[in-house]
């Protein structure tokens, strides 16, 4: 190190000042980062809580001009979309994770799969939307809940794959060898011993994937499309909470703005619950693994 570190009095003062300045800047930036989050929360609670009522959870949207109405159909729609998404994303995601951890661990194929999963994770959601549109909506010639679910399901895969892999790697080899030594076939040992042991972590991965896709709007714009009425049909356009918030937020009506805030509050609440649940399950899972 050069003459910065000469121990003259002036230098020492300069260095102390620089040290304090850096600390101050780091604290300041932390405050600046935390501030928007708090601001968002306060606004959500302030605006959303005042418009949450029973009707919001039980009624479908009213036409323009009438007050009241709710987002019941959008919440059910989001549930259906997530169900379709998880029936596609969870099996493929977990199976790919098993491949990465149990079979291909150090192979070139596994590295390529890891890399592709990361790439898939980074594909913009709107691009996912138009791809699924041209894959499913164009051939079938109508928007459908099914296509929306497929778009979300594909987006779930990378998260689930990578967390499943990490969790399976945490399972000690001795556990696997013990199962094999008892004469259990390998597939059985993977499914009911290794995967079972790692299940808290794997569930965590699925919840994270849920939390991520539950709030996605862009892939649903041209697939699920949205619906002002009740619909449980997989072949028809279906409403979804984020989609409804988007449409209402951009509308010129105060009544709809109010509903958008309420919807956002519900959405955030669901995500907070799932993320905290994840936190809880992971810490418990780790404790189990350590003992």
């Amino acid at each position: 190190m050069t003459n910065h570190y000469k121990s003259s009095a002036a230098n020492r003062i300069w260095r102390t000042v620089a040290n304090h300045a850096a600390t101050g800047l780091a604290v300041l930036s932390t405050i600046l980062v935390v501030a928007p989050l708090i601001a968002i929360f306060i606004y959500l609670l302030y605006k959303g809580a005042s418009s949450l009522n029973l009707a919001f959870f039980t009624q479908i949207p009213k036409p323009v001009g009438e007050s009241g109405g709710g987002m019941a159909n959008a919440m059910v729609g989001s549930g259906i979309l997530l169900a379709v998404a998880s029936s596609l994303g969870i099996p493929i995601g977990i199976a790919a994770g098993i491949f990465l951890a149990e079979f291909g661990r150090f192979s070139r194929l596994a590295n390529a799969v890891r890399f592709t999963a990361d790439v898939l994770n980074g594909v913009p959601s709107i691009v996912m939307g138009i791809s699924v549109y041209s894959l499913i909506v164009l051939p079938l010639k109508h928007f459908s809940a099914l296509s929306g679910g497929v778009a979300l399901g594909i987006m779930m895969i990378p998260t689930i794959t990578r967390t499943t892999e990490e969790m399976l790697l945490m399972v000690p080899h001795a556990v696997r060898e013990a199962a094999l030594a008892l004469g259990v076939p390998n597939w059985r040992s993977v499914l009911s011993i290794t995967l079972r042991t790692a299940s808290p972590g794997v569930i965590t991965g699925c919840m994270l994937a849920y939390a991520r896709v539950a709030g996605e709007t862009a892939p649903l714009l041209f697939t699920a499309f949205g619906n002002q009425f009740w619909s449980l049909n997989l072949n028809q356009p279906i409403a979804a909470l984020p989609l409804q918030i988007y449409v209402y937020a951009l509308s010129p009506y105060d009544e709809w703005h109010r509903l958008a805030w309420a919807g956002a509050l519900v959405l955030i609440f669901l995500i907070v619950v799932s993320v905290s649940l994840v936190r809880y399950v992971t810490t418990r899972g780790v404790l189990k693994g350590a003992s």
């Binding site: 790919a96 990361d118 790439v119 894959l135 004469g183 862009a218």
Partner: protein, 349 residues
């Protein structure tokens, strides 16, 4: 939202001082299956079922390739019309005239690049500051809640950010921030009237809030990967804490930090909903950042369902294809850089 962000929270021990070194160079991944295991596997009586299971897993893993390939081919095929008509000039033309079938994507590319750049300029110093504070300075008691907080910022859906931006951020910028910017920096021409509130600058600000958690949590990850001995060595030479952070930590982690910044850029380029809500949606290239603009993702979101003829649809899909290719390159680059650091490769190139 992004997998990588919540990643540190997944394995649980992220609160421990060095999760990355634990995860990558710990005994776990270095542990090879033992010879006993090989023997046990070869002795198995259910060779058929095992093989079938193995192939099923391989199939699922390979299907991830399939999905990415399918997306790529589908986008390329559906945008053939404009690719063959305009060729490379599609990306340099600034006319967007669906009625006469004349398409140029330059205003959208401009909007996407400039709004992402504004986001990076705002987010990078803050994100690195937060990462430094959380890993090196803050009391242990605060570390958990703070990292949870910044990670939670990543889990908020973009439509909620958009909602907040439309009703809170935009009025705030219009009434209080933009007039000051016009007064102080008006001479640069970057901040000039008219001041609508919505526009390029608002989009950049909301994007910066959205990419902050990504950059900061990855930066934190690479910073914790720097060996403790580096810090101790610098401190032992009589350095202050800031000098220790600068010389011992930031310099060693710089490649990883660049990687995380690029990853944040990838996210900003593809962000759709929040940007669409505040950027103003006007395809123009002007110097003032306060003027409305348009981005690649938001033109798709707004006009895709109205695209009536094939040429229009093809133009929008080609914009999507461009976005896809750019984000793949950006993400791939970022992952390689982050891997290079966290996998124990020499940080000093």
């Amino acid at each position: 939202m992004d997998y990588k962000i919540q990643d540190p929270s997944v394995p649980g021990p992220s609160e421990t001082p060095s999760p990355v070194t634990d995860r990558n160079s710990g005994p776990r991944s270095g542990e090879q299956p033992s010879t006993i295991r090989k023997f046990l596997l070869s002795r198995g009586s259910s060779a058929f079922a095992d093989k079938g299971f193995r192939w099923l897993m391989v199939l699922c893993a390979v299907s991830i390739f399939g999905i990415v390939a399918l997306i790529a081919t589908e986008l390329t095929l559906r945008s053939q019309l404009t690719i063959s008509k305009f060729g490379i000039w599609f990306f340099f033309g600034s006319a967007w005239d669906p009625v006469n079938g004349n398409f140029g994507a330059l205003p959208f590319i401009f909007g996407t690049l400039v709004s992402s750049l504004i986001a990076l300029i705002i987010a990078v110093p803050l994100a690195v500051g937060v990462a430094v504070f959380i890993t090196e300075m803050c009391p242990l008691m605060l570390r958990g809640p703070l990292s949870f907080f910044t990670e939670f910022l990543a889990a908020i859906p973009s439509v909620v950010y958009g909602l907040w931006a439309v009703f809170v951020l935009v009025p705030l910028l219009r009434e209080h921030v933009n007039p000051v910017l016009i007064k102080l920096l008006g001479w640069t021409g970057l901040f000039s009237e008219p001041n609508f509130g919505i526009g390029m600058f608002a989009a950049g600000v909301i994007l910066s809030i959205m990419i902050l958690p990504i950059i900061s949590s990855l930066t934190r990850e690479v910073m914790t990967a720097v060996p403790q001995s580096q810090r101790e060595a610098v401190l032992a030479l009589g350095a202050t804490r800031w000098e220790m952070i600068r010389v011992g930590v930031l310099r060693n982690a710089r490649i990883g930090i660049v990687g995380s910044i690029i990853l944040g850029l990838g996210r900003a380029l593809g962000e759709t909903i929040a940007v669409t809500m505040v950027i103003g949606n006007r395809p123009q290239i002007v110097k003032s950042l306060l003027a409305p603009a348009y981005s690649m993702a938001s033109v798709i979101a707004n006009e895709f369902s109205e695209a009536s003829d094939d040429m229009y649809l093809s133009a929008l899909i080609e914009i999507g294809l461009a976005l896809f290719i750019v984000t793949i390159i950006v993400n791939g680059l970022a992952r390689l850089l982050v891997w290079a650091v966290t996998r124990g490769a020499p940080a000093r190139a």
